[in-house]
């Protein structure tokens, strides 16, 4: 029979089988084309990137994406080839030459990939349009959609070249497989994989210990200054930890798990049950023949989880920190009272609400002669150690009165902080901390303040992270009683006058902020809460979009490989399940066995990914992020959200896999 007609006939007869292959290749091409179009979309890139950062990221991601495409396509190619070896073997038995069979395979592959290419380009065009639409909506961009072509010819070219290259590589690898496999193995390929399995204690133990040591090292960062991360150095310890966890994971999966399950078989009471006696050996066998896939999946899912958790954290943390960086809706320094009138005018122009409060705080700087002073006393006096690096400050405590503090907190709507306040006596003060520091608590310390010619000692009754004024305008803030403050005002001139403006009606008003900024000719003392949030969003959104894209890709890759792998393993052993049914296993019991076997393969990558993600997030959070927020579990909500999301996605894939497997196995 002619090759092409035979290939066509094959395609027609095994339509549902090829549909799956077609679908997965289509999917890959869709993603690839959409991304390529996006990275070649000059109109969009100009809008969201101002310093070439997005372009660089696009390039990095496209490398990942290409690797993903190659990997995914070769995986599905292998998967489908494997399921057809028997058929190919029969051709060979009938007298077809291997070269004939190969050209049959290549013809089929070409047909499928061309179909997938057309579908992929179409879908990818839509997908790309969707992304552009989403981004413009999200970031409020003005984009002329008609300027963006549906099919960017360059992107089509690039996709076509790349996919053809992959198809050629696949054809080469298929021919290698075909010519290397003997006729005997082709015919009984599905049964040939079994070899006597060997179990070695040494690599298992090493793997187990390596993983545990790696995690302990990661935990060590919690010891703070004494930890190895700081005493030896972040970089070497980081390298060591990742190397340990990586090699440990590999050995753990390849050696320890089968070893442990094999050892577990000795426990007869546990092992001799109707499901365990089937699932445990099945698990050992599958892990032996699939350890490479499983290891790769585990690493992939660890990477996915870690990246999404770190990403969520690094978006969430600065936003959570805005309440400290810019506690008031708008805050600035004023030189004279007349400026206030001007401000009111501008605000009225942009947002004529009557709930706006204007609060002026005069800050007095006081020095102290105490031997041991808190870090805040001298922070920012040299370059590189504070938030507002443009201006250096003089060392000293910056005093504000207690009554102003409470009023400011109230205006900023921080009722919780207000509730915990107790009034101050004249010899008492509250110290505003820059960073939480559990190692040295200043509570109870006495600082003699130099006021005029007198030294007045004050005791710190509390330290707090609830700063009423941004760090751009005041560091080392000390809240003193109104009487003591009054004494100060008589002795000195204020170091700065800070105006805090609050009110619901001026929130989220970027135009107002820009107008004020213009009026103050870009003063670094101008701070705004909503403005800061807005800034964080627009600076990081493109990064997050791209990383988010990558994460979604990883998820899909992991999920679909798990799906294919499990479905093929279980449908391959359909005859085994038939035997079990004849022996008297009920369909429910068989379903339970399938569930257990599938679950093991989902749980291993998930749990490892989870552990890796938790420890990596911990290290990242403790070592690499500036720490100005109180350490609380709330900070880990984004991580938990990422984990939950991953869990749900895994669960959905798991359900789908079990459903397909049961359908395949339990039909009469």
């Amino acid at each position: 029979m002619h090759n092409l007609s035979m290939a066509l006939k094959n395609l027609k007869n095994n339509f549902s089988f090829y549909a799956l292959y077609l679908l997965s290749v289509t999917f890959v091409i869709t993603v690839f084309f959409a991304f390529t179009s996006f990275s070649m979309n000059a109109v969009m890139l100009e809008k969201i990137s101002n310093d070439g950062r997005v372009e660089t990221m696009c390039n990095t991601i496209s490398v990942f994406l290409m690797a993903f495409v190659v990997f995914y396509m070769s995986y599905s190619n292998r998967f489908f080839l494997r399921r057809r070896t028997k058929e190919l073997g029969i051709y060979a038995l009938l007298g077809y030459r291997k070269s004939t069979i190969l050209s049959l395979l290549i013809t089929e592959n070409l047909l499928t990939c061309s179909g997938a290419f057309i579908a992929g380009i179409l879908l990818g065009g839509f997908f790309h349009k969707g992304i552009v639409f989403g981004i413009t909506k999200l970031l409020d961009l003005a984009v002329n959609h008609s300027e963006i072509p549906f099919f960017n010819p360059n992107a089509v070219m690039k996709t076509a070249c790349f996919i053809s290259a992959v198809v050629i590589v696949l054809a080469l690898s298929n021919s290698r497989f075909l010519f290397r496999t003997s006729l005997m193995d082709l015919v009984r390929y599905e049964k040939s994989a079994e070899k006597r399995m060997s179990f070695h204690a040494v690599p298992s133990v090493i793997g187990f210990l390596a993983v545990i040591t790696g995690y302990c090292l990661a935990l060590d960062i919690l010891r703070g200054a004494e930890s190895l991360w700081l005493t030896i150095g972040f970089y070497p310890v980081g390298m060591l930890t990742s190397a340990l966890i990586l090699s440990g994971t590999v050995l753990f999966i390849a050696s320890f798990l089968p070893f442990a399950v094999q050892a577990g078989k000795k426990n007869k009471r546990k092992f001799y049950t109707e499901t365990k006696i089937i699932t445990a050996p099945g698990f050992i066998y599958r892990i032996h023949s699939n350890s490479r896939t499983l290891i790769m999946l585990t690493l992939l899912s660890a990477a996915t989880l870690t990246v999404s958790s770190v990403m969520a954290l690094s978006l969430y943390y600065p936003i959570a920190a805005v309440s400290r960086m810019a506690p008031s809706e708008i805050e600035c320094r004023i030189e004279n009272e007349s400026e206030i009138t001007a401000f009111k005018q501008i605000i009225n122009e942009y947002s004529p609400g009557d709930d706006v409060t204007f609060l002026q705080t005069d800050i007095y700087k006081v020095t102290s002669t105490a031997g041991q002073l808190p870090v805040e006393y001298s922070i920012g006096t040299s370059k590189g150690d504070s938030d507002n690096e443009k201006i250096l400050r003089d060392a000293g405590f910056e005093c504000i009165p207690f009554s102003n503090y409470t009023v400011l907190l109230e205006a900023q709507g921080r009722t919780k902080a207000l509730e915990q306040l107790a009034t101050l006596n004249n010899n008492e003060c509250i110290l505003i901390k820059y960073q939480p520091d559990s190692d040295n608590d200043e509570t109870g310390n006495v600082y003699p303040l130099l006021i005029g010619n007198h030294e007045i000692p004050v005791t710190v009754t509390a330290v707090t992270l609830d700063n009423p004024i941004s760090f751009a305008n005041s560091v080392g803030t000390l809240i003193v009683s109104d009487d003591l403050y009054h004494m100060l005002t008589e002795q000195a001139v204020p170091a700065a006058k800070v105006l805090s403006i609050n009110g619901k009606s001026i929130e989220d008003n970027e135009a107002l902020f820009q107008a004020l900024s213009e009026y103050l000719s870009g003063s670094p003392y101008l701070q705004g809460n909503s403005h800061r949030v807005h800034e964080i969003f627009s600076l990081s959104s493109s990064t997050f979009l791209l990383i988010g894209f990558l994460v979604v890709l990883f998820f899909i890759a992991t999920g679909s490989i798990l799906y294919f792998n499990n479905v093929s393993a279980i449908t391959d052993s359909k005859s085994d399940y038939d035997i079990l049914r004849k022996m008297g296993y009920t369909d429910r019991k068989i379903k339970k066995i399938i569930q257990k076997q599938t679950a093991a393969f989902f749980i291993i990558p998930f749990l490892f990914g989870l552990a890796d993600c938790i420890f990596a997030t911990l290290v990242y959070k403790s070592a690499l992020m500036q720490n100005i927020l109180k350490n609380s579990l709330v900070l880990y909500t984004p991580t938990m959200a990422a984990i939950m999301l991953t869990f749900i996605i895994y669960l959905a894939y798991y359900r789908m896999t079990v459903h397909t497997c049961c359908k395949a196995v339990l039909t009469k």
Binding site: R196, E274, D576, M583, Y585, T586, K589
Partner: protein, 249 residues
């Protein structure tokens, strides 16, 4: 003699088939009988076995095994029935490849939720009695075809089923392995009183049985009894009968 299995007017017509594969088949099997079913290819032997063993359902007619009318069994009821009462041997030995021989034989016992100690003892003593204990810790693909088939016979026998169904168990074996397996069946029939229903094409295999049902076009057309013949004589009379059938065609 009390009947262990009673089939009355069992008919099976497959969907879209013109002729019934089983046409009003009636017969009964006594406890600890060894029955061979013979007949040309396509005469309905496998169909009969499937219907009797609850794997398939008859179109009409009734089947009682050990006092249970299997028509009234639900899906899971049928599964439990197979678990407790029936054993199977197939032409392809159909052992589970990822389990050792020991584990393969133990599966039916775990399904009956027997205590581990007992499972271990039962498997080991049976393996000793039938001489496959050296192979217990091997995997199926490390055994010869004959050894595998004997292991799958032991897997069927180990739980002491009321009836053992065997569909051409010697079909894939050479003559000496076949003899081994048939001796195994005969021995379990004699010493453990296992009731056996075996489909075979082979007069030699059939000569191990006590009674032979010969099928044609979905009906039993002849019945042969061993009576007091020795195996050789019985074999010759079966061979004659089969030759006669061939000339009738």
């Amino acid at each position: 003699m009390s009947a262990l299995l009673e089939a009355t007017e069992v008919t099976k017509i497959y969907a879209r088939a013109q002729h019934p594969s089983l046409n009003k088949v009636s017969f009964s099997v006594a406890k600890s009988e060894f029955i061979a079913i013979m007949g040309a290819s396509g005469s309905g032997k496998t169909t009969l076995l499937n219907v009797l063993s609850t794997i398939d359902t008859p179109t009409s007619g009734s089947i009682t095994i050990d006092g249970v009318n299997i028509k009234n069994l639900s899906d899971s009821g049928a599964a439990d029935f197979r678990r407790d009462k029936l054993g199977f041997i197939f032409q392809e030995y159909l052992l589970l490849d990822s389990l050792t021989i020991f584990e393969n034989i133990a599966v039916p016992l775990t399904l009956q939720k027997l205590p581990p100690k007992k499972i271990e003892n039962m498997v080991r003593s049976l393996a000793e009695a039938f001489g496959i204990d050296p192979q217990l810790n091997k995997y199926p693909n490390e055994l010869s075809g004959g050894q595998r088939q004997r292991a799958s016979a032991l897997r069927a026998i180990v739980k002491r089923p009321s009836i053992l169904f065997a569909d051409e168990p010697t079909g894939a074996l050479d003559s000496s392995s076949a003899t081994d397996l048939l001796n195994t069946l005969k021995e379990s029939n004699e010493s453990l009183n296992t009731t056996i229903l075996m489909v075979t094409h082979d007069a030699y295999a059939a000569s191990f049985a006590d009674r032979i049902l010969i099928f044609k076009d979905g009906c039993i057309i002849r019945e042969l009894f061993r009576q007091n013949d020795d195996r050789r004589t019985f074999y010759e009379s079966i061979a004659r009968e089969v030759a006669k059938l061939d000339t009738e065609r």
